[in-house]
Subunit: 325 residues, 2 copies
């Protein structure tokens, strides 16, 4: 079972075929960054059209069981997730509605302060809000996983503490390897691991040591360090691959409709667009390179299988259904 | 299996308990009359709260199998339906979204002209529209049943013709018994029966011969006439019970936001509110009276069981899932 727990590509038949070539049984796709409920539904409608048009390549996956069936059928199961809480607006009842529509991950904040939590670019982080506490409880009840990839430190630690089910950081790397704003501190990694949470290792160049020049060996050694500190069951892949996206999309991610001024996020005025991917991970066909890199730094076959998908599958199995009474 | 294929009550714990007392295993509830998509979702959110609050009395039913499970658990399965196409706005992608959220019936029009079809109070009926033809096809694909209860004659006949799966008229009576605007002509009944469609017999007084004074025997004899003409497998109950609703609600049904002037629908200025129910069918506990009345005019036990729910169950079994390839 091979799973990538975060992508936001410019979806097309070409990419769906490349997912099959790359051996991906499951991909967690981002449905929204700044969209409200109605606009999020429009994005889901687009996926429904793709499922109808390419039934031999992809299918909607709502559970670990759906992914096993997708694998058996030779298709890639698509899991929906939100990188922001904008789809639930100020309405806690939309948590269950979004879960019914297929959402299985929701970030409590995306870079900025949200109604629920603080994003990693804010100067101050007052932690989980009043509504945030209620929404975490509701997400726990229905089986919508809390994702803190783009959230600030205190909010993230509080989310791990408040949530009664393990949470995820679907796409980020350890700050001990590369100290980027989006990468995670030892304190966060330790609390996440201890609570049964999961980390998805990112291949987005701004999250990599040496960015676009990062070597596969460096990436794999980081994974080995992580396994030594927190165990091999604690992490998988969340590549953050934005295949075929024009640079206008990274601007939408960063600025949405919240600012009239440009914000460069992890980039800069001279490096404003999507950074080039390292040559060993440029599209969905390169997924097997990661397995090779992991093996080369000493992970055995079973450990490679865990990191490449089995860990996420087990997490999905435990997380995507209603909370047991 | 006892099913009422249309109610719009002022839902409460009292009514849910009365459904259990009345022996109802399934009830098709109206989710909206004039609401757009977002407001329809708010109404579904209310149901989610009721399901969470009263799990020993009710549960959400999306299939015939869900109803069998509800019956085994001693609960009433609630099936969602729309009395208008307003929830899909002008967006065909919302058909599948609404089905995913649980909708299993949708009227193509409610009294007035809609984007899809004509309502029974319009002076002219130009038939199914361009969008209507597309939406019927999409409803057929996903398993959302076309309901023409409040539609005009030509539109109804065309819907029966165009739909590749049997349609329903969930709540209306034969015009041969009581010639009301909402009751259905022999032409419609014959086409509906021949195509494998279903009729739900209404207990709403404006649809009854002698209205509030209608006798149980008269109602049951109408059912016997219907069975003689079209067979006992063609119909069930769709009571249109509006238990505990204030008269402001019948005004909302009739006028919505489409008119600044009052419209009395099947009532009149001197009879503007909800008419009193006949004394043998006043609330959900009176469902067994219908079975008794049917038996008294000569239906045998199996026929009574068919009319009281088995016919609807079979129709749901064939209708609520995706169209087979």
């Amino acid at each position: 079972m091979k799973i990538d727990c975060l992508q936001y590509a410019n979806w097309s038949e070409k990419i769906f075929r490349q997912m099959r070539e790359g051996g991906l049984d499951g991909v967690h796709v981002t449905i929204c960054y700044h969209e409200n409920f109605r606009d999020t539904v429009l994005n889901i409608e687009k996926w429904n059209r793709w499922f109808e048009t390419y039934p031999e390549l992809i299918c909607h996956a709502r559970s670990a069981e759906d992914l096993r069936r997708a694998k058996a059928d030779g298709r890639t199961g698509i899991i929906f997730g939100f990188q922001n809480c904008s789809p639930i607006e100020d309405d806690i009842g939309l948590v269950e509605i979004c879960h019914t529509l297929g959402a299985r991950f929701m970030q409590l904040s995306y870079n900025n302060q949200s109604l629920l939590a603080t994003g990693c670019y804010e100067a101050e982080d007052p932690g989980i809000t009043r509504m945030g506490r209620q929404v975490i409880k509701e997400m726990n009840r229905v089986g919508l996983v809390v994702d803190m990839s783009h959230s600030a430190e205190r909010s993230t630690l509080e989310a791990i503490e408040i949530s009664e089910r393990p949470i995820a950081i679907t796409h980020a790397n350890p700050a001990f390897w590369h100290a980027a704003r989006r990468n995670k501190s030892d304190a966060v990694l330790a609390a996440l691991a201890e609570s049964g949470g999961m980390l998805g290792l990112s291949l987005y160049p701004h999250h990599l040591k040496d960015k676009s020049d990062c070597s596969l060996e460096s990436f794999a050694r980081m994974a080995a360090d992580l396994a030594e500190r927190y165990g091999v069951g604690f992490f998988g892949i969340g590549s953050d691959l934005c295949q075929d996206q024009p640079d206008s999309v990274v601007e939408w991610m960063r600025v949405g409709r919240w600012s009239k001024e440009i914000d460069y996020g992890e980039g800069s005025a001279s490096d404003a667009g999507f950074p080039p991917q390292p040559d060993w991970f440029t599209d969905n066909r390169d997924f097997p390179n990661l397995a090779r890199g992991l093996a080369e730094v000493g992970f055995n076959d079973q450990e490679v299988a865990q990191i490449m998908g089995e860990n996420w599958l087990n997490f999905y199995q435990a997380s995507f259904g209603p909370k047991e009474a």
